[in-house]
């Protein structure tokens, strides 16, 4: 079973009197345990595609399947619970709730997921250690570097072991060294837990880590490279 399957997705935005095809007949299949980079110049449709896969936005036409379930026809509430339980999100920046500490940011989502208090404590400690933040559990986002904040966001995204993690330009605000560290973390989690990663980026350094590189331009897939084989 593939982790993600998109069939003939189209999404058109109107800007002024112009129609912009953010997704133009996109079809795509990502296997479980995949590690995929979506690369495109700015405005190429990366975010639109990730949002469609994550059920944040509904395409105009086409089908989206995640973990064997068709999701483009689900209700808002069902989509929210799908995201909560099965999909982890990492965004570009300002990803965390500023008034909560690293641990609380991770635990807040678990609380919503219905994890017991002891379970939350245990899991947040373990996951923060895994992303290399042991000892920084009680820091607020403002007291951490950009890289550390992104690690908290990753910890939050993967703490409940989702099958799929969607990351939208996660390194855009990070320097190259920190970017590398984050990508190494992704690779490790992918190999360790078998989590599927789909990472939108236009950062060449990030693309280098991907097993598979999908290139988009103006809402269309223009290239699909298996980098392992290459």
């Amino acid at each position: 079973m593939s982790a993600v399957r998109c069939i003939d997705l189209c999404k058109t935005y109107r800007q002024g009197d112009q129609d912009i095809k953010a997704l133009d007949h996109v079809s795509l299949e990502i296997a479980a345990k995949g590690f995929v980079c979506l690369s495109a110049p700015s405005g190429g449709g990366k975010t639109t595609l990730l949002n469609a896969i994550g059920g944040l936005d509904i395409p105009d036409s086409g089908e989206v399947w995640v973990a064997g379930q068709r999701i483009d026809q689900l209700s808002k509430g069902a989509l929210a619970s799908l995201r909560l339980q099965q999909i982890g999100f990492v965004f570009q920046a300002y990803n965390l709730i500023p008034v909560l500490s690293a641990r609380e940011n991770v635990e807040f989502v678990m609380q919503v997921q219905g994890v017991s208090k002891d379970g939350r404590r245990e899991k947040s400690t373990a996951i923060l250690k895994e992303v290399g933040l042991a000892g920084l559990e009680d820091r607020r986002p403002a007291e951490m570097s950009g890289g550390q904040q992104q690690r908290v966001a990753v910890a939050r995204a993967i703490v409940s072991k989702p099958a799929l993690v969607l990351a939208d330009e996660p390194t855009a605000n990070l320097d190259s060294k920190t970017s590398d560290e984050l990508m190494e973390l992704f690779v490790e989690l992918n190999e360790h837990h078998g989590t599927t990663f789909v990472i939108a980026t236009h950062d060449r350094r990030v693309m280098g880590y991907a097993k598979r590189l999908i290139k988009m331009l103006d809402g269309r897939i223009v290239d699909d490279i298996n980098q392992r084989a290459a």
Binding site: R83, L84, Q85, N95
Partner: protein, 409 residues
Amino acid sequence: MNITLRLAWRNLWRQPRRTWLTIGAMVFSNALLVFMISLQFGMYDLMIDNTLQAFTGHIQVQAPGYKDDLKMRQVVPAVNALASDIRRETGLDRVAVRSAAFALVSSEDRSYGVQVFGADPQHEAQVSSLPGLVRDGRFPTDANAQEIVIGAVLARNLRVSVGDELTLLGSGRDGSFAAAVATISGIFDSGIADLDRNIAEVPLGFFNDVFYMEDAGHAIVVVTPNLDDVEAYRSRIESLLPVGSNLVVHDWNALQPGLKQAIQADLSSAFFMYGVLVVLVAFSVMNTQLMSVLERTHEFGIVMSLGLTPGRLGRLVLLETVLMGLAGMLLGALVGGAITLWFSYNGFSYPGMDQLAANFNLPSRFYPQATLLTLFAGPAVVFIGSICSATYPALRLHWLHPVEAMRAV
């Protein structure tokens, strides 16, 4: 502490000044409400007590219809026996028989139509403050003495003083001509214009002779220990009425409808003002929470994309409001309670209050009394109003689209 609660609490202190301003508005209005309501209710109790204790009492047993026509023949038969029954069965000792007639009262110079009451010298002082308000002379002590007590205004109008004689002309219970001469034994000054101008009292035995009452009377007046007990005693007395009698037992509200109306009029104008206050506070809360939701659009977009529902975020906004509201309620009750306490020792008065006070024979300084009700009734309404007004910003989250929200900075 629960994380959501912690989150709500910390969110409030992101903008401490705004939060304090909002809480401050709540504290101010709550303190004002506590003080005003404590003052008002203290005043009403005093007003009711003073008015009723002057003459009316809390409960009266009468013939049906008597209250409205005051016809001589609408009597309570065997009235003394019934009064004794009531005394014995209810354990109340403030029970007195009274009768009344309209009569022309004449001095050497002048005549006035007044309501002459026959009052039992032994018991009248327990149900009415008039005997105690006799300034000149004394209240009769002998039930058969040919004596009369009149109000200060009537005395002035008749140009008489203690020791002078008055002639009474009227008609008896059976419609016959009734006439008597009585010596003024005392003059009372109640401060209630109506009583001082239009009322005279004579001993009950003397009254019964003059107006052919035999063993009947017009009312049994009862005073209960506490206003709150009136209804219980009223129904108890109703059950004591002789079988087959059609007598009625009125409570003070039926006897003095003007009193409750005056209170209600005062209450409704006060409550209108309080309502305006609550609405103002509610709008300030709504404004605060709208701004705070707007500022967090991006953040809310992120957590919604993580799978949090708008309902959950709405509850967070409501929880924040609840925390502010609780702070406002407790601080408001505290400040209002302290102010009330201070005035309960030192008294309070404001211009315009003396007029209402004079109408009901009240002192012109008031001593507000804080009770649990007056401490929390107003603040509770402000609290509920605040929560209600925060539901709008909370519900607006349902229209928030995570993708668009995240685009906001």
